[in-house]
Symmetry: C4
Subunit: 486 residues, 4 copies
């Protein structure tokens, strides 16, 4: 492997000829940059420079080698060749400062044992995370109406506790897609967990292992899938954004099977990126303040350029029901559709032989004023109650309390997914994730006992008073069937 000096490196500092140093190795990223999920801009900004810090903030060390292979590896970088006082290799200051080292970060944080609920984790994250990370994780589509409704509609369902039952021994164990778990709670796939903790998704995996629950790994995870699955002995599922380049997706599916994933969750609620204004605002403000190295003013067009937008560029907006057959061909894993939002599509999924559904709206991140997640579940109960016998139904979005888990299960869900809280807990390492799971377990068990239940098989809709939401699916509430064309 040749040694590349600074003078040589700087000869390749344009978009058309783009070399970068990452962790002491020189890579040629000219061809890769345009297809970079995070956007070409961020790579080309570092052309002829050292991008290690920016890279490490986001990606696992092994990713670049796995992704590019040896052909794009030019050589090792000769650090001694940099002339004293030169700052040409200094990476341009990122508008969002990198997070301080762990020790410093820990100093000002609320101690883990003072966090009593998912809300406490959220509050702590808003204090601990960088502005950019907080904006990316916490933001939702436009006016955040669906995001708030996801939580609020659980609170509009009242519980009807039964008394004088022996509730000393409560079991919350269940099976998800054939895998045993200690409770009906699933870590949802979340992108770029490295923004929350240097060890990213590995931290969530280790915490889930301690808590005995399953994890779903995002296509956009910071770490390669095999590294995550190697980190813990739990059931893993793999979330797939289908790539415009189907062969890329096929490669990912093969990798997932090999790494032991037990099902693939195909995301269907984001054919195009959602508009998350908080996320885009961080980028828009930064673009105004910080000119790009070449002096050109960064442009923030109407399509936005937040983290969410730039990462979603490769997703195939042309995915249709016909592609289910393709999926079946290229993987033996059970297939779950993630982001089903109507009873009609749930029935269609069953007809297509799908194994499971995640009801939800991408945590309110896709389309604002779309139906709150638990209300989709109610729609299935009202309109196609037999669906729960035909496939496994999960619900994701707005779950923050043990009572929410209980309500979802009463309405027919096999388990619930929770996303943002796991990211916020990951900031505290595996202990944080474990603490979060124990809080949810304790709340859920308390709810079981208070409701007079000892086993998940005892849950049913009659334990809820749905008076405040029943008008959603009253006769005619769905309106205009005669005009329906779609």
């Amino acid at each position: 492997m040749p040694l590349v000096d600074a003078e040589e490196l700087q000869k390749h500092s344009s978009p058309d000829d783009c070399w970068l140093v990452v962790n002491g190795v020189v890579w040629d990223l000219t061809e890769f940059a345009p297809g970079h999920p995070g956007g070409a801009d961020i790579i080309q900004r570092y052309a002829g420079r050292d991008a290690s810090r920016a890279y490490n903030n986001i990606h696992a060390p092994s990713l670049i080698q796995n992704e590019l292979g040896d052909t794009k590896r030019i050589g090792d970088f000769d650090a001694a060749s940099v002339s004293r006082g030169s700052d040409i290799l200094t990476p341009p200051e990122s508008p969002a400062a990198p997070p301080p080292p762990t020790a410093a970060r820990d100093a000002g944080r609320r101690p883990l044992q003072t966090l009593l609920s998912t809300h406490d984790f959220e509050q702590a994250a808003s204090e601990n995370l960088s502005a950019k990370a907080w904006a990316f994780f916490s933001s939702a589509a436009t006016d955040c109406i669906t995001q708030r409704a996801n939580e609020a509609y659980f609170d509009r369902m009242w519980l009807r506790p039964r008394i004088l039952r022996d509730v000393r021994d409560v079991s919350c164990r269940t099976k998800i897609l054939g895998s045993h778990v200690s409770m009906p709670l699933l870590a949802s796939p979340t992108a770029m967990c490295k923004l929350a903790h240097p060890d990213g998704e590995l931290v969530i995996a280790r915490g889930c292992e301690r808590g005995g629950i399953a994890q779903t790994i995002s296509t956009n995870a910071s770490f390669p899938l095999p590294e995550i699955t190697a980190a813990a002995d739990i059931p893993f599922f793999f979330q797939l954004y289908v790539n415009k380049d189907r062969s890329a997706s096929e490669k990912l599916l093969a990798q997932a099977e090999q790494a032991g994933a037990r099902a693939v969750f195909v995301t269907v609620d984001q054919p195009t990126p959602g508009k998350r204004e908080a996320d885009e605002r961080v980028k828009a403000d930064a673009a105004v303040l910080a000119p790009t190295p070449n002096g050109a003013k960064a442009r923030n067009d109407a399509k936005g350029s937040g983290l969410g937008r730039t990462m979603a560029g490769y997703i195939d907006g042309g995915l249709t029901w016909r592609d289910i057959a393709w999926l079946r061909r290229v993987t033996r894993l059970p297939i779950v559709l993630k982001g089903v939002q109507t009873a009609a599509d749930a029935v269609k999924a069953a007809e297509h032989g799908i194994d499971g559904l995640v009801l939800g709206n991408h945590g309110g991140r896709s389309l604002d004023t779309s139906t709150p997640s638990v209300m989709i579940l109610l729609e299935l109960q009202k309109m196609c109650p037999d669906i729960f016998e035909r496939l496994e139904v999960f619900v994701d979005g707005g779950i923050r309390r043990g009572t929410d888990v209980f309500k979802a299960l009463c309405l027919g869900a096999r388990a619930v997914g929770m996303g943002r809280p796991f990211l916020y807990a990951a900031n505290y390492g595996p202990e944080g994730v474990e603490h979060l799971i124990e809080i949810m377990r304790e709340e859920f068990e308390t709810t079981m006992r208070m409701m007079g239940c000892t086993d998940l098989s005892q849950l049913h809709p009659g334990l809820l008073n749905l008076c405040d939401v029943n008008h959603w699916y009253a006769d005619g509430a769905q309106i205009f069937p005669a005009r329906a064309k779609l």
Copy 2:
């Protein structure tokens, strides 16, 4: 053209003999003043003085010549005749200071590329505009309940996204009253755009051209209609307040036809001016602080004297259905009624052969607690669904998001109108207006894709969950038909 000196000018400084200098020309406004849409007071205040600054804040340079013709033009003003130190020609200080020059104004403004939504434009306008302009544009009737409801009721309609459709290619093109446009969004008529930008309506026209949409021009535009239509190559419509003096309206209609307007939008929801307290408060407070030149104390009677009130003085409160025949006689343009608020009147309009309807309540500026605009649309869907086949239905009021456009179209609207946001965008020039349109287009296209739609013909009410508003038109909700007398 004779030269008029200062001494002569000051001989004509009473309401009964009222000369003014405007941009170097002396005009006799004695006869015109009582019929001035902006009130006689503001003209008579400048009798025997130079009114250029006040005039230019509001009106296009050409307007006075177009309006008065040569007969009232006395001559050019001899500026040299003003004695040194004399301030008799100085215009009295207006309570609302004139806006600073453009460059100064730009200095403190949020950069255009940081504005991500109509809400951002509104926020920026509240910071950038003069207090008087902001009050005039943003205000609504009395307690602003309808204004807020116009927006809020869109948010009470939930979306039901369909999945796994090929949404790579989305078309938003449509036809409005026979004219092709790039999307179903229309710039609503708004008065006095010069308060937002020196080039007033011209700016909106140029921005709409870049965005490929149509514009409606107000009777109370700051610039003469032909100057606006000359500014851009887009479909224009002309909004008409019918004058008590019908010949004045006939003259305007002829001018509109000649200038190429493609339809006339006759306003029917404001037979008398609405009470906009924020607008009137600016004037009321000013009147208390600033005595009129002749020492008399300005009077703010109970009828109010905000900009909205004074401009509306010439509108004919006696306009009835019988006048449709008159309109048909005096113009060949398609006729649209702007401000229809009940299904009963929609049906009546169809029976009168009207070509289109704008459902709305004047942006909440006419009568508070009148029906929110999108709910009028729902009333038509419930009570006379065939109306949508008989004429084109538009809705105006409360549209702020691409999802709002989508919902209106699902309920049968051909397109939507948006007013205030265009004024706020005009403050940033044509680029601002273009940026606004692109934001709305991007949001609307994103909504189309998220909903699984690629063409406007696919939209229908079944894509909405109307659970939270369906009680509006439930059986009996309309009440007391037996007692109806009107």
Copy 3:
């Protein structure tokens, strides 16, 4: 008339022998004090002293002579007999300082012409009135839920404007109990108007004369009825709290007839005083801070001691339907029941030959969570619509806008009453009251025009959309008829 000196006066300074000086005259109030509507305490506090200032804050100069006659008039007070430096005749400092003289008060007030609505008058009153007066006028029962609902429920009724009607000429004239008035607005009876203006009810009378409307005079008015009726040429009505001592009421009724009152409004919604905490808090706090003259600590028992409570002591809680016959015997005036709150009692009133009803809940001052006033009106429309042909129905409580008046008339009311706003306007003198009436008239006429109406006979329920309140009287909403016993 003998001259009484200070030494003699001070011999009568106990509850059992209680002389006071009022405006230079010495009165023996020993017998009167226990029946004083404002409580014995406030009189006995001044035993042996000069009470002029406290008296004049509340009462008209003539009241004491009218009430007590000559028998209790001991003589004139010899002011020269007070020894220098003596403060024994100085009235104890009232916790609530007396209002400053008019001129001083005017200095800091918002100018009348800047007040644009009833809300502005309320805001101004909160700034201008003494804490005690504001508390007494503005307060309502306990948590003020009904007070707020009185206003809010008008806002939950939507208007359905009709277009293209000739609305140039609008008439708001109507008849109330046989008397012609310029609009369907009535000044409700309000107690102790002197707290708002030194000329108290006289000011309201003079303002109503300018505005052409009628006034109702409270039993607890600051001025004697004949002085008020002499102040203006308008229709007057007399509000009666029936006294435990019926002969006192008979005397008042005779006085009312003689003074030209055209009807008697018998209050039936306050058989016991309501609990108005703001009012009582002023008194409670004062009692803690200011010991009584004799050193005893003032007691604030659980029954409260606000102005409202102390004034209500003489009201007869034993008044029943049987007393209607007594009323008919002792007066020839039409009888109106003020404070009817159910359809059942409205029907009962018609059966008893009552001439009119004021629907309402004492402005929310009697019983919290009692039915909002406009909803009582709706109850009559739904349950006994023929009642409107049998007697005149008024509604009082929550009217703040011209749209409120319009809605009440659509639902069958003959006219509406408004209370607090008249008190707040009285603070500005007759001009204030006139300004208030003109604001309401302008708003009401604007509403008429916007709705397409020119005459009160055209108003009917179909002009309203009652969707948000119709569930109030849906089938079964009234519940449990089988169990009703009362």
Copy 4:
């Protein structure tokens, strides 16, 4: 009784050999500590030390002797044996400072006579109590939704006052479980009243005696039951948490009978402790700040460790309907179930021969989003109205106004319970409790008069307008009966 010196005492300073000094007496608490309702931790913290201050904050002086008897009493402590300057006997500083002596506390408090309502008492308590006591008393489960709903749902029921009835003489007297009381208000059982006042439950008893109402005494009262019942001559009821060790409960029941309790209220709505975050936060924060004496860091596990949690350790989660028979065997007292939350369980209770029910949800302290208390009452009225003839129904939770009492009685309740307000009033001693009762009585009597009622037998549901809550039990609102399995 031997004298124990400091040197000897310190030999017994481990969990396995644990002596403590309490008020001059040395006790061996080794065996008792693990079963201590307040947790073993707090006792073992004082092993070998003087625990008097911590003990007296919580417990009555006599409690330790009653609980442990003579066998664990080692001897008197020789205070002279403590070496000068030694602090080994000084109790470790409690994180929550002890309340200041009464006199000091009184200094800054709002005077009792300025408190006009239960809300005022609550406000005063939030100012007067220690942070720990306030957290323990005021907290409720997780997001406090049920706690707030308990109050709010009373406000959603409107009153329909009837007029012209003779309401001079009103009687509020009634019988509760055979005992005469002056009004239908009951002091609910509340734990650890000593945190509010040094004389704890004795204060409530004395205040209830003055007010003529009954008191329910908690199993977790600060004082022994016989001391409380000896303090006042009123009807007492005994609240029982059934102990895992049934013989302990039997002992308590025997004691209650002997002390004259007239019924036993068996709590059935808390088979496991609720999660009250405010309560746990005080402890969690303290644990972080204050290391335990032995240097180990206090652990705040996910199960929480607030006062509520630690006290609930002995409660039997295995209590079932079958245990009713056991209760009947071991006590002759009438049995009331406290915490019934469904009509189904109310019917079941009647079938088991239960004498009374307290409908409620433990003041919102057990399970969040469980049904608001007054809505349980409505459920019984709608679903099993005959239940009110079969046993006495009480309702507890959210009662804050006289109108609330009235509404509960209209819906069939025999009386209502009120908890937190009595604790807040106890802070002011017996006068405070008496003042609270008089406020409630005055409000209730006022409500009776305003409603046209003079006797509790006249109350019925028709006096309420339930329009805003009737959808709770509309047809189908309860949903899915076919699927009900429990």
